[in-house]
């Protein structure tokens, strides 16, 4: 692997982790969606770069899916949904921002320690890629855990999935990567359509998951 190729791949993967941190502290829904779109663009670039470096043309499809579907279609759809449902306002998070950020730093440190230790035999690029990917995955999980809002949880989930795509493209020559990204896109489309079709607002007046919790009442 040439020095330049490595540096660019490293930069893009590191950028994904950075944007995950930015997602952690967004407290408005629109801003959250914009930052997510930025992450999807970065992912498309990272995957496209891997496709070029590994000389694996099928990865361009994955990059295109990331760019078209995750950076454009989904954010626009969610944006319109927020307008239609009238939930444009601040989103509550479960813990304070400082604690969340500290937890995020801890998770990144954990994934670096675990993955760099376990992949001692791999090439430097693959090792750092998988470590960054695990960081993005865990940060996505943290976003899901700390958001009470259904849209926030979906964004967290999609961010987790970005980490998975990064991991899959970093594992050189991995088959079925395109299929995985298609499967995940279907999954995400399902949720977004689901939120919309089921019209959570129609029944709860909100897409705040707290309301869902209240709905279950005493019957357990």
């Amino acid at each position: 692997m040439h020095g330049f190729d490595f540096d660019v791949a490293h930069l893009l993967a590191g950028g994904l982790v950075l944007v995950s941190f930015m997602l952690l502290y967004q407290d408005r829904l629109y801003a959250l969606l914009n930052v997510f779109a930025l992450q999807a663009v970065l992912l498309a670039l990272a995957v496209g770069w891997q496709a070029y470096v590994q000389d694996a043309p099928h990865l361009y499809i994955t990059a295109a899916i990331a760019l078209l579907f995750k950076a454009i279609v989904i954010p626009v759809a969610l944006h319109r949904m927020i307008v239609k449902l009238g939930i444009h306002r601040e989103i509550e998070s479960v813990t304070g921002m400082g604690v969340t950020m500290l937890a995020g730093v801890g998770l990144v440190a954990l994934s670096l320690v675990v993955m760099l230790h376990a992949t001692a035999g791999e090439s430097a690029l693959a090792r750092e890629d998988i470590a960054f990917a695990l960081s993005v995955l865990l940060l996505g999980l943290l976003i899901m855990v700390t958001r009470r809002n259904a849209v926030g949880q979906v964004v967290g989930f999609m961010s987790m999935e970005n980490g998975l795509v990064l991991a899959a493209t970093g594992a050189k020559g991995m088959p079925l990567v395109v299929e995985f990204s298609v499967a995940f896109s279907i999954l995400i489309a399902f949720i977004v359509i689901g939120i919309f079709l089921f019209r959570i607002r129609e029944r709860f007046d909100t897409v705040d998951v707290e309301a869902l919790d209240r709905a279950r009442g005493g019957r357990r």
Partner: protein, 482 residues
């Protein structure tokens, strides 16, 4: 080798797929319910052909002695549930809980789910298996939310979020297994094929395999409903249509368990990798104890049996975690018996909830008086699931406990405590449900008793006499599981 002119595996996959496509376009509830039953029956018959010969594994599908057990059980319960579903859904349509459009959707999703589960069980590729489990999960998520009540939506959302996190972890584990395989087996498709992985796994990097297994255990363990990761399970069982509760408990949990077992087999062949046994024993035991105590505070009849499913999956994972020929045999038997019994219980519960118009345990009393046949079926089912002799689960639980006593007496004591606590809880609830003065509607019930009593008869028969052919088969699989 093959006595069958075509590959029955393909039929097992194609029939549900084609039926699902047909059900999307077929109008009318009677026709689609019938088609659902016929499709499920055909799938089951084709799986029986697998016994008479199956092609050698290719890079997509694999049939061996282990997954034949799972596939046959899967399609059989899938078929009986479709029979139960036909009568259950008719009632839901009458009382207007479901509209014809939703019903069409429901039947198509049922077959999509069967397709996903069958594909997961026969896949010879860790990636394909992951995709298939995702398909099956998605189909069940939609069906759990189909009533669109606030509770159903909450259950579907919770199920969806937790299952997705599980799915993401499982995929990360799958990628790590591929990364471990790549230096040994080279790049490309072969690095994800079970049969090839098994041949080369001894040379894989153990550190990477260990981490991969942790992710896979957490990921697929969420689906199995193991204790700290079980939160979706009671909600999904309680709020969806009862046929779905039956297939969730009876089948989908098994499919996820099958995935874990396969990866356990893989790790067992690498001398330096961690032994998955203790992890599985711990998770299993925690699930049993947790669920046993939770059983006491249930007020909803379907939630009660959902917690009982967590308990039983705990026992099964515990047994497979202990390993060894006897414990594995017990685990397989327990899994089979649990699938049959639990789906039978849900068949009974579905009709009970329909005739009483409620799922609250306090509002259901005296079933043996008001609805003798249904009431006694429930009594028999609960006695079976609680592990009373001579029913099948008694035998498998006895084998689990006795094989554990021989090796780890302390663990066996904990397990027995869990079993007894659960036994007490179930009998206490059964007392109120089945006996005493009837409460609520005593209207006659139009139930489909054939699948219900068919399952119970099988469980009873297995408790008294296991056919030697089945014993030999299970013993062979138990040996294979190591």
């Amino acid at each position: 080798m093959s006595l069958v002119p075509f590959n029955p595996v393909l039929a097992v996959l194609a029939v549900p797929a084609v039926t699902a496509a047909l059900l999307v376009v077929v109008p009318g509830y009677r026709l689609s319910a019938g088609l659902n039953v016929v499709g499920s029956l055909l799938t089951f018959l084709f799986t029986l052909l697998l016994f008479f010969g199956h092609a050698a594994p290719n890079s997509y599908v694999l049939i061996d002695d282990l997954n034949i057990v799972f596939v046959v059980l899967n399609t059989f319960v899938g078929f009986t549930t479709s029979v139960f579903s036909a009568s259950y859904i008719g009632h839901e349509l009458e009382i207007g809980r479901l509209t014809p459009t939703y019903l069409r959707f429901y039947h198509a999703m049922y077959q999509v789910m069967m397709f996903g589960m069958n594909l997961a069980l026969v896949a010879n590729n860790i990636g394909l298996m992951w995709v298939a489990i995702e398909i099956a999960t998605l189909a069940t998520v939609v069906m759990v939310g189909i009533y669109r009540t606030p509770e159903a939506l909450e259950a579907a959302w919770k199920y969806f979020i937790l299952a997705s996190v599980g799915i993401a972890f499982a995929l990360f584990g799958t990628i790590l297994v591929y990364m471990a395989a790549r230096p040994v087996m080279g790049e490309g498709y072969q690095g994800m094929v079970w049969t090839l992985l098994m041949q080369h796994v001894a040379k894989f990097d153990p550190a990477l395999l260990n981490i991969a297994f942790i992710f896979l255990l957490l990921g697929y363990g969420t689906k199995v409903g193991l204790a700290p990761l079980h939160a979706w399970l009671p909600d999904a069982h309680a709020e969806g249509p009862t046929p779905i509760s039956a297939v969730l408990s009876g089948l989908l949990l098994n499919v996820a368990l099958y995935a874990i077992l396969r990866f356990k087999l893989l790790l067992a062949l690498n001398p330096e990798a961690i032994s998955p046994g203790p992890l599985m024993v711990t998770l299993g035991l925690v699930s049993v104890l947790f669920a046993a105590f939770m059983l006491y505070r249930r007020h909803d009849i379907k939630r009660l049996f959902a917690y009982s499913s967590i308990e039983h999956m705990g026992i099964i994972v515990f047994a497979f975690g202990m390993g060894g020929a006897l414990a594995n045999f017990a685990g397989l038997l327990q899994m089979t018996m649990h699938s049959l019994t639990k789906s039978a219980i849900f068949f009974a519960v579905g009709h009970i909830a329909q005739v009483k118009g409620t799922q609250r345990i306090s509002e259901i009393r005296g079933l043996t008086v008001s609805h003798p046949l249904l009431g006694w079926a429930l009594v028999l089912g609960v006695l079976a699931i609680a592990g009373l002799p001579p029913l099948g689960i008694f035998m498998s639980e006895f084998l689990v406990v006795s094989s554990t006593f021989a090796r780890e007496p302390l663990l066996a004591v904990l397990l027995v405590i869990g079993l007894l606590v659960a036994f007490g809880a179930l009998l206490m609830r059964l007392q109120g449900l089945a006996f005493g003065e009837p409460v609520g509607s005593t209207a006659p019930v139009r139930a489909s008793y054939i699948p219900l009593f068919g399952h119970l008869a099988l469980v009873l028969a297995a408790g008294i006499y296991l056919p030697p052919a089945l014993v030999v088969w299970f013993q062979h699989v138990a040996q294979m599981l190591g």
